[in-house]
């Protein structure tokens, strides 16, 4: 019965195509409307309708290319993300599930494909941990090999096995659904973009990082990094045992900018070097104060 229905459906589609070519589509639609009210909505082209006579070898080739790109790091992050997410989180489980459970429904296959892929990704680390390759770039290579192995087994068993059995999800998106889905995608992308924009706004009072770190050879690493909300000008004074060593005037930093210098300090066991930072905006107030023991804190 199923085969007969399929033949009839194919014949009907062929008739519709021929009628459309002859410019009699309106007549066909009208006839459908009479017999099969309500009329079927206009459909958008669906990827599922694209015929692929040998889908698994084609998928295998795509997996091989994706593995090569993801393992070698060729291409930018966008291309690697496009290929790497399915290579890691979908395809290994998808191929293994198709090998083991060829007639699983789409929802079942989606859950099992992603779940088994996650399992394989987790276990790939255990396999590679004891090898010189280690984790990281070798993991997608291993996952790609597993996927290719499963695809090879499927091709050997039944090359005509369909890649997916759409079953109850065979309905294609109508124009209305496509518009709504597109609208939702735009709104979600907008929400994410707005959040990223909002989180990036600097709302804090602003701060300046100051440091004074002993280096080898009795030298001190002195530095400032501005996290202020506006340009600031600083005055720095370095002393050792109370005696001035060096001053830096008018160090002007834009927000996010950094300044650093190295200063030699005379050896003074038990003594202390002190750095005082003052802002031009508030010259009477010590903004940052640092001190290091010269007795043995050098790294």
């Amino acid at each position: 019965v199923t085969a007969t229905a399929r033949r009839r459906r194919a014949a009907r589609k062929a008739r519709a195509r021929r009628a459309a070519r002859r410019g009699t589509e309106a007549l066909v639609v009208q006839r459908r409307a009479v017999v099969l009210a309500p009329p079927a909505p206009r459909r958008l082209p669906a990827v599922a309708a694209v015929p692929l006579s040998r889908p698994w070898p084609a998928l295998g080739a795509a997996v091989a290319v994706a593995t090569l790109i993801c393992t070698t790091g060729l291409g930018g992050t966008a291309l690697r993300t496009l290929l790497g997410v399915p290579l890691t989180l979908v395809l290994p489980g998808f191929a293994l599930t198709a090998l083991v459970w060829p007639r699983l429904g789409l929802a079942e296959r989606a859950a099992v494909a992603v779940g088994v892929s996650l399992s394989l990704a987790a276990l790939s680390g255990l396999v590679l941990d004891r090898t010189p390759l280690g984790l990281g770039a070798a993991q997608p290579a291993l996952l790609g090999l597993v996927t290719l192995g499963a695809i090879a087994a499927i091709v050997r068993r039944d090359p005509s096995q369909p890649v997916a059995t759409p079953g109850e999800f065979a309905g294609r998106l109508g124009r209305r659904e496509a518009l709504l889905a597109g609208g939702a995608a735009v709104v979600l992308a907008g929400a994410l973009a707005f959040s990223a924009f909002s989180a990036a706004i600097d709302r804090g009072p602003g701060f300046t990082q100051a440091w004074l770190v002993p280096q080898s050879g009795g030298r001190l690493d002195v530095g400032l990094r501005s996290g202020e909300r506006q340009t600031e000008t600083y005055q720095l004074r370095l002393t050792a045992g109370g005696a001035p060593v060096r001053e830096w005037s008018d160090v002007r930093l834009l927000p996010g900018q950094q300044w650093s210098a190295t200063a030699a300090v005379p050896a003074a066991p038990g003594g202390t070097a002190e750095l005082v930072v003052v802002r031009d905006a508030d010259p009477t107030h010590v903004y940052r104060s640092l001190h290091v023991s010269l007795g043995g804190a050098g790294s």
Partner: protein, 603 residues
């Protein structure tokens, strides 16, 4: 009739979706409102809170109600569940885009950093010592990073979203097989999503978030394998074994809970003279034992540390001790009245509905072994509510929520199916019930101060992570190198361990009570002994700790010495005392955060 038959036969595939697409658009708009609420919350606007709840309810309720409705097709239910997973998984990233800020996820991030740095597993983690023994999550994320080159927070979000999809779809398919109807499967999955931990806790980059998905997958695979012969037995077992192995190396408690459930299922099935998952229970037990022997031995100590205080407090409470006040944070802040009312109503609605569901189980499914076990686990829900009365019990109760709600979902799916066969009045009842249970669950399961982003708060985990702390931790990596031994407060310790790749020293990880260094008025010989015992070279002092009591109850870690006089924040003079210690160098100063080099004191 002929016309109708012809219509069915020749209409071809129906348009996919039904009402899913308009409702998904509504949910997406709800999420946009949540994003707007987050924006306002960052500016401390009072309008943020109502907007957040409105947006959240728009994201959850329409799709949830459609998923459990009586006239929804199976494919639409599945689409609604997938839409719900997507929308609810975006609530946390909207608050903290491209950042890992939760306490647990910072700890797991450290394990991931170590894996990416060394290329190998099992590097000791100073933030969470048990984490390297269960590296499944980090290994999967490292694979994704290796393939894509994405930054860790983005890769982490993708892995967790995938795991949550498996979790919800797996539960739906499992319950669909158990009940025989997609509707009850969807209802069980929706009730599960209303559990207090689903929105935030189970969306974080932590091992449990991934393990729950694997556990749901195993349940479905086992049920599917046992009921259909459309797979090669060996192949089906191979898939199950893969998932079991991955689960066991990912999270201890989830794998133990699954073993307990499957073993109980097998036992009850035997009592009912039916076939049970004996082989799966044996497989799980065998793999658990193997992993415990190989790497999981620290688990016992870790779990004991979490359970023991709650058990002791339960004993004290039963003997007339004083319990914890509900809806009160550790720093004394009491939740708003509406929050208390909604939280209580949520628990009450579940408790009231449970007996009805159990009655339905007895009438219709008392010969189904897994349903009986699920009903038993649902019965633990009222007990878990009692744990909220213990000072350390709320955390344990919340941690039970995911597991208990699998049973609660199974039982309450029967109630939803029974009370809403048709009619808009009953639809409204279910809509209101789901709205209250979901929103009240969020209130019970997550501190209100952490629901939305905002300015810095003392000891408030994600709300304590800000640019100042991240800048200090990043600076240590650049100027001091990695692997330096630090003592710091709870939040800055996590930042030092991740952004700074340093080695924080704690009582938990190193058996050195470094909190004592900060919680004493003077630096004395005892403090010097602590420094030397822990080989602590650097101290990070966050002077903002002196402005408030910590929201989570401790400034540094559990068991820290109390501040005297009690009930007041640390005096700032205690934090500044290191300036006067001979040999101590203040090498970094960003205003509120200072770093001291105490290398000269270590001898």
């Amino acid at each position: 009739v002929r016309v109708q038959q012809a219509s069915v036969a020749t209409e071809g595939p129906r348009p996919a979706g039904g009402l899913f697409f308009p409702l998904f658009l509504v949910g997406a708009v709800g999420l946009l409102v949540v994003a707007l609420a987050d924006h306002l919350a960052r500016d401390s606007s009072p309008e943020a809170e109502p907007l957040f709840w409105i947006g959240l309810l728009f994201a959850f309720v329409p799709l949830a109600v459609r998923a459990v409705g009586p006239a929804t097709s199976r494919r639409e239910r599945i689409a609604c569940l997938c839409g719900l997973v997507l929308l609810l998984s975006l609530v946390k990233p909207l608050a903290q885009p491209d950042q890992l800020t939760f306490f647990d996820e910072l700890a797991h991030w450290r394990s991931l950093i170590d894996i990416l740095r060394t290329g190998h597993l099992f590097t000791p983690n100073p933030l969470l010592s048990i984490s390297p023994s269960f590296p499944g999550l980090e290994s999967a994320t490292a694979a994704l990073i290796g393939a894509t080159g994405l930054p860790a927070p983005t890769a982490a979000a993708i892995v967790i979203a995938a795991a949550r999809l498996v979790l919800v779809l797996g539960l739906f398919l499992f319950f669909e097989l158990l009940t025989g109807t997609p509707r009850m499967g969807a209802a069980a999955a929706v009730v599960f999503m209303a559990n207090p931990r689903f929105l935030f806790f189970d969306d974080q980059f932590a091992y449990e978030s991934m393990a729950l998905g694997l556990a749901a997958l195993i349940l479905f695979l086992e049920a599917r394998r046992a009921r259909a012969d459309d797979a090669s037995p060996l192949g089906a077992w191979a898939l199950i074994a893969l998932a079991v192995l991955a689960l066991v190396v990912t999270h201890h408690v989830t794998s133990y809970a699954l073993l307990g459930f499957v073993a109980a299922w097998a036992l009850v099935a035997r009592l009912l003279r039916k076939r049970g998952p004996v082989a799966l229970a044996a497989l799980l037990a065998g793999v658990e034992l193997l992993w415990f022997a190989l790497a999981g031995r620290p688990t016992l100590e870790y779990l004991q540390g979490g359970l023991q205080p709650a058990l002791e407090q339960a004993g004290a409470l039963l003997h007339g001790g004083v319990g914890r006040r509900l809806f009160q944070a550790s720093n004394g802040q009491v939740a708003d009245v509406w929050r208390q009312a909604l939280g209580l109503a949520s628990a009450l609605l579940v408790v009231v509905a449970l007996p009805l569901g159990m009655l339905r189980v007895w009438h219709t499914r008392r010969l189904q072994a897994p349903y009986l076990v699920l009903t038993l686990s649902a019965a633990a829900y009222p007990l878990s509510l009692g744990l909220h009365l213990l000072p350390d019990g709320a955390e344990l109760a919340n941690r039970m929520a995911e597991f208990v709600f699998v049973g609660v979902g199974a039982v309450l799916a029967l109630v939803i199916d029974a009370i809403w066969p048709i009619g808009w009045v009953r639809r409204r009842v279910v809509t209101a019930w789901l709205s209250v249970v979901f929103s009240g669950g969020v209130i019970v399961g997550w501190p209100p101060q952490m629901t939305l982003p905002g300015p810095y708060l003392v000891g408030a985990d994600s709300r304590s992570v800000d640019a100042l702390g991240v800048a200090a931790a990043s600076w240590t990596r650049e100027r001091l190198g990695t692997g330096q031994r630090f003592a710091a407060d709870r939040t800055n310790r996590s930042l030092l361990g991740t952004y700074g790749a340093q080695e924080p020293v704690t009582d938990y990880g190193s058996r050195v009570v470094t909190a004592q260094l900060f919680l004493s008025p003077e630096f004395d010989d005892a403090d010097l002994a602590i420094l030397r015992q822990g080989r602590v070279r650097y101290l990070l002092v966050d002077r903002r700790l002196s402005t408030a009591l910590p929201l989570v109850g401790v400034y540094f870690e559990d068991g820290e010495p109390p501040v005297q006089p009690a009930g007041r924040p640390i005096p700032v003079a205690w934090l500044d005392k290191f300036d006067a210690v001979p040999g101590a160098s203040r090498v970094y100063d960003s205003g509120d955060i200072r770093i001291y080099d105490l290398g000269a004191l270590l001898g």
